[in-house]
C-alpha cells in the first residue's frame, strides 16, 4: 500500500506542481488507468460510451454538425482576440480595424479567420439542416432537437448580421441600413422595433453599441446554452438516426463500438481538415473593407449581405409587406412545424424517404431550377401588375395578387406530384420543401451575381 504514493519531498519543484494539479498521475499504473478513464468520461459527457457502428459512416452526417462546432469554437477564439483591439464607437470603429490590419501582428489573419468562419458557418449549418431533413432525422424522438437547431440557426444568422456592421465601412453601413429598414414594414410594431434595434431613428453610435452587445455577449451566451442542449438531445435520442436503405426495415441489430477512439478520431480528422481549409482561405483572401461609412452617400448598387440576397431579390418582385414579413414568417412557421406534421410513415434514416422520394426530389429541384429564372425574367421585363391594374393599391397589385399566383402554383405542384406518383405525404411534403429551398437558393444566386447598377439584371 505504502509504495503507491511517492514521497513528495523526493520530487523537484516542477514535479510537485504537476502532481498538485494531476494527483492521479502519482499513482500506480492501475490507478493511472482509472484516471485516464475519468478524463475519457469528461469527453464522453455529451456522448454515449458506445455508438452504433453504422452511424459512423461519413455519408450519414458528412461531418457537418462537427464542422459547425469547430467553426463556432474558432469564432469564439478569434472573436475574443478581436475584442481586445476593436473599439465600438463610430469615430473609432473603422480606424481600429485599420489599426488591427496594419499594425497588429497577425491582426489581418485573425480578422480573416473570423470573417470566413462566420460566413462558412452559415453555409455549413444550412447543409446540416438539409442533411437532417433528408435523412428524416426530425421524426420523434428528435422533434424538439430540430427546433433547438432552428433557434441556433437564427442565432448564427443574427451573429453574422450584427458582426457585419462592426467594421463601419460603406459596405457595413448601407447593408445594415437596408436590413434594419426592412423592419419598417412589419405591421404594427415595425417602427418601434426598428427604433429599438437602431437605438434611434438612424444608424449611429447607439446602433454600434447595441450590435456589439448582441454580437459579443448575448448570442455567444445563447449558443453556449443551446449547443450542449442540442448534443445532449442527440444522446438522449440514443445517438444519431441509423442509416438504412429504403427497403430495409428499422432493425435493432446491435453492433456498437466504443466512442473512443472510433468516433473521436473521425471528429478530430474532420476538425483538422476544416481548420486547415479555413487557414488557407484566410491567408489567400482578405476580409473586405471599403471606405469609411458615409451616411450621405449610398454606393450603387447597395446590396444586402449575401445571405439576405434572396430576400432582397424577393423585394424586387413583391410588395415589401409580403417580401419582408408575410413570406419570411410563413417560411419560419413552415420550418418549425416540419417535425410536428402528421406523417404516414417513419422514414428516419432513409435518404430522401424512399426510392420514389428520390425521384420526386429530383423532379422538384428541376422544376424550381426552370421556373424560378423564368419567373424572375418575366417579372422584370413583361409582368407589370401595377400598370395593368391602375387604381389598385400596390399591396394588391404587387403583393396579394403575385403571392396568390405563387401560392396557387405551389399548391398545384403539390397536388400534381402527389397524384402522379401516388406518394405518401412524407414524399410530397419533402418535394415541396425541395421546391421552395431550391427556388430560394436561385433567388439568392440571382441577387448576388446577376444584379448590377440600380439592381438591373446583368450578366456577370
Amino acid at each position: 500500500m505504502q509504495e503507491n504514493t511517492a514521497m513528495p519531498d523526493q520530487l523537484n519543484l516542477f514535479q510537485r506542481i504537476r502532481y498538485s494539479i494531476f494527483p492521479g498521475t502519482l499513482q500506480r499504473p492501475a490507478y493511472r488507468d482509472r484516471y485516464r478513464n475519468f478524463f475519457n468520461s469528461l469527453i464522453l459527457h455529451f456522448r454515449p460510451r458506445n455508438v452504433q457502428q453504422r452511424t459512423l459512416r461519413f455519408t450519414l452526417t458528412w461531418g457537418l454538425g462537427g464542422m459547425a462546432v469547430v467553426l463556432v469554437c474558432m469564432l469564439f477564439a478569434t472573436g475574443l482576440m478581436l475584442k481586445f483591439v476593436y473599439q465600438p464607437v463610430p469615430d473609432r470603429a473603422y480606424e481600429s480595424i485599420i489599426h488591427l490590419q496594419n499594425n497588429v501582428l497577425f491582426g489581418q489573419l485573425i480578422r480573416n479567420v473570423h470573417h470566413w468562419s462566420g460566413n462558412i458557418l452559415l453555409i455549413i449549418v444550412f447543409l446540416h439542416l438539409s442533411r437532417v431533413f433528408f435523412t428524416g432525422a426530425f421524426h420523434s424522438p428528435r422533434q424538439f432537437n430540430w427546433v433547438i437547431g432552428l433557434v441556433m440557426f437564427l442565432a448564427v444568422l443574427t451573429s453574422n448580421i450584427t458582426g457585419y456592421l462592426l467594421p463601419w465601412d460603406q459596405l457595413a453601413f448601407w447593408a445594415i441600413t437596408i436590413c434594419t429598414g426592412m423592419l419598417d414594414y412589419v405591421p404594427g410594431i415595425g417602427e418601434w422595433l426598428q427604433k429599438l434595434i437602431r437605438g434611434g431613428n438612424e444608424i449611429g453610435p447607439a446602433t454600434i453599441s447595441i450590435f456589439f452587445a448582441i454580437h459579443t455577449a448575448i448570442i455567444p451566451a445563447c449558443l453556449l446554452v443551446l449547443m450542449p442542449w442540442h448534443f445532449w438531445r442527440v444522446r438522449k435520442a440514443g445517438g444519431l438516426v441509423i442509416p438504412r436503405r429504403p427497403d430495409e426495415d428499422e432493425d435493432s441489430e446491435d453492433d456498437k463500438v466504443p466512442t473512443i477512439p472510433n468516433l473521436i478520431l473521425r471528429e478530430i480528422v474532420v476538425a483538422l481538415v476544416l481548420i486547415a481549409a479555413i487557414m488557407a482561405i484566410s491567408v489567400i483572401f482578405n476580409a473586405p473593407l471599403e471606405a469609411k461609412a458615409n451616411p450621405g452617400l449610398s454606393p450603387n448598387p447597395t446590396k444586402a449581405p449575401w445571405y439576405f440576397a434572396g430576400v432582397q431579390e424577393l423585394l424586387l418582385h413583391f410588395h415589401p409587406l409580403f417580401a419582408l414579413f408575410i413570406i419570411p414568417v410563413f417560411m419560419l412557421i413552415a420550418l418549425v412545424s416540419i417535425p410536428y406534421l402528421n406523417y404516414q410513415t417513419d422514414t428516419a434514416g432513409v435518404w430522401f424517404a424512399s426510392h420514389r422520394g428520390r425521384r420526386m426530389t429530383a423532379v422538384a429541384a428541376l422544376t424550381a431550377v426552370i421556373i424560378t429564372p423564368i419567373g424572375i425574367i418575366a417579372d422584370e421585363f413583361v409582368i407589370d401588375f401595377a400598370a395593368w391594374l391602375p387604381g389598385q393599391p400596390s399591396v394588391v397589385s404587387n403583393g396579394i395578387l403575385p403571392a396568390a399566383i405563387v401560392l396557387a402554383g405551389i399548391s398545384m405542384f403539390y397536388w400534381l406530384v402527389k397524384k402522379k406518383y401516388a406518394a405518401t405525404n412524407n414524399e410530397s411534403i419533402q418535394s415541396v420543401f425541395v421546391l421552395l429551398v431550391v427556388a430560394f437558393v436561385i433567388l439568392t444566386i440571382t441577387g448576388i451575381w446577376f444584379r448590377g447598377k440600380g439592381m438591373a439584371l446583368i450578366w456577370p
Binding site: T177, I178, L196, G296, S298, N300, Q312, L315, G454, M455
Partner: protein
C-alpha cells in the same frame, strides 16, 4: 384534518411563489425594455441646431433642388416659387437618394426607386413619397425644422410653402 390542510397549504405556497417569481421576471423584462428604449434628450435647446437656416428666398431658382448635406435634406423650389424641404432618406429601405440634375429626379441607387421634384414616386419599389420637413419663411429667410420628418403617401399642394400669399 391536519393531513388534508398541509398539502393544501403547500400547494397554495407553491403557487404563491410561482406567481411572485413571475412578477419578478415581468419587472425585470419591463426594466430591460425601459433601459433599452432610445432615450429622449432632456436638455432644452440641444435640438435647436436641428433647425436649419437655409438662406434667402432669392438664392433658390424656381424649378431647382439644393442639397443640405449637414441637415440631411433637399430644399426644392417648385416652378411656381413654392418651397418643399425633402428628406434624403429613401422611403423604401432607407438609402440616401441623390438628386439627378439632368434627369430632374431623385434616383435611389439601392433598388432603383425614383422620385420627382416634389418627392412623389416615379418608380417603385418605394411605397410612398419622400418625407418632408416643416418650413418657415420669415423676412424672406427660409428655415427648415429637421427634428421630425412628416410622413406622407403622396405630394399634395398644401405641403408647399410660399414666401408670400399667392394672389
Amino acid at each position: 384534518m391536519k393531513s388534508e390542510a398541509a398539502p393544501n397549504r403547500r400547494r397554495f405556497l407553491n403557487i404563491f411563489w410561482i406567481i411572485l417569481g413571475g412578477v419578478a421576471v415581468a419587472e425585470f423584462v419591463a426594466v430591460a425594455f425601459a433601459f433599452l428604449r432610445p432615450a429622449k434628450s432632456k436638455t432644452p435647446g440641444e435640438n435647436t441646431d436641428l433647425i436649419f437656416t437655409a438662406g434667402a428666398v432669392e438664392r433658390f431658382r424656381p424649378n431647382s433642388v439644393t442639397a443640405f448635406v449637414r441637415g440631411k435634406f433637399y430644399l426644392a423650389r417648385l416652378e411656381d416659387g413654392g418651397f418643399l424641404a425633402i428628406s434624403r432618406t429613401c422611403t423604401h429601405l432607407g438609402c440616401s437618394v441623390p438628386w439627378m440634375e439632368k434627369e430632374m429626379k431623385f434616383a435611389c441607387p439601392c433598388h432603383g426607386s425614383a422620385f420627382d421634384i416634389t418627392g412623389n414616386v416615379l418608380e417603385a419599389p418605394a411605397p410612398r413619397a419622400l418625407d418632408i420637413y416643416p418650413i418657415t419663411i420669415e423676412n424672406r429667410i427660409v428655415k427648415v425644422d429637421t427634428r421630425n420628418p412628416i410622413k406622407r403617401s403622396a405630394f399634395q399642394v398644401e405641403q408647399v410653402v410660399y414666401h408670400k400669399k399667392k394672389a
